[in-house]
């Protein structure tokens, strides 16, 4: 029974983390899109590829996925 309770608790933690991670990634993606729109609207050149290379692997994968959709 104790083990069962622990499992439930662990599942809850994992579920929460999944939700938090997805919310964060969605927020970051949306901000990136908005930023890109505003950058183009203002006619500001891209700030070098350098900054982009520094992004985490997770977001890099995401942006690739986006590119395919487009």
């Amino acid at each position: 029974e104790d083990k069962y309770a622990v499992d439930i608790a662990n599942t809850a933690v994992v579920e929460k983390r999944k939700r938090v991670l997805n919310e964060w990634l969605a927020w970051v993606r949306k901000e990136k899109e908005l930023l890109e729109e505003e950058r183009q609207a203002l006619g500001i050149p891209e700030e070098g590829g350098e900054a982009d290379r520094l992004k985490t692997a997770v977001t890099a994968l995401d942006s690739k996925a986006d590119a395919v959709v487009e």
Partner: protein, 340 residues
Amino acid sequence: MRPILLKGHERSLNQIKYNRDGDLLFSVAKDKVLCVWFAANGERLGTYQGHQGAVWTLDVSPNTVLLATGSADNEVRLWNVKTGECVKVWDFPTAVKRVEFSPDGSRLLAVTEKRMGYLGTIVVFDICYGDGEGGDLNDQNDEPSLRITCEESKATVAGWGYLGQYIIAGHEDGSVSQYDAKEGEQLENVQAHEFDYQINDIQFSSDRTYFITASKDKTAKILSTRNLAILKSFPSDTPLNTAALTPKKDYVILGGGQAAMDVTTTSARQGKFEARFYHRIFEDEIGRVKGHFGPLNTIAVHPAGTGYASGGEDGYIRVHHFDKPYFDFMYEVEREQMRR
């Protein structure tokens, strides 16, 4: 992760910063001296002398041509990074607590202190880069192109939002404001930290869409540049002086500790001088790095995310290069996300 110890300052460090390439590390302290070091091995390249008071703040232009400093002697100075020569001095009625170049390097903001008869201000100067070969750098504007007066609560720190559109300031009363960087008009103000607990540091993500604040209320928070929404909160057990975001990995590094003058016993200070690592997304503390013998006043992360440096009240700078486990660490849910 054996740190490199940089001994060049005789007094408490105020701010340290890498240049954009990450090969140089600059530091300012209460001892009036500005030092520049090779970030890789900690060798001191030189010093820039001229300030008559504690130097509170510094920033390097994105192209590493100019260096700006703000000091208790009421001056902002511009330096030629290569030659160490001071190319411009701006005088103010009060001390200067923070300077920062805009993301494109075309403007410089300075936060001035409030004192009897003077309200705190944020001033902006348009910056010129001479002939592009290091000449004519002393050809600068005498007057600021923008002046924001903080009527309510003085600004303690400030920086530039994405595309240089906004100036974001942290205040003495624990609030954060967003100003239009062209007109200087205040667009938003939120009480991000506990009322009357000063904000001591503000650092931006690489694309400047969000930033982290460190406060005396013992917490650090991540806010959205666009609307100042509070996205993340990192509680600790000690007043925080500095907070930094790590590129490459989704962590934050916090530093703080009670200043000697604020405590009566040494035991209350014990164990509070560690750099604390938190997970940026899950907000959990994931590790600590010991070393300093006093509060951490400033933390800077290498622009490529390969290491970080901390400056303490003990007068030392400690430069750390991250080991493999740092990069390998991942939550199971992150791993899963990667696989998808």
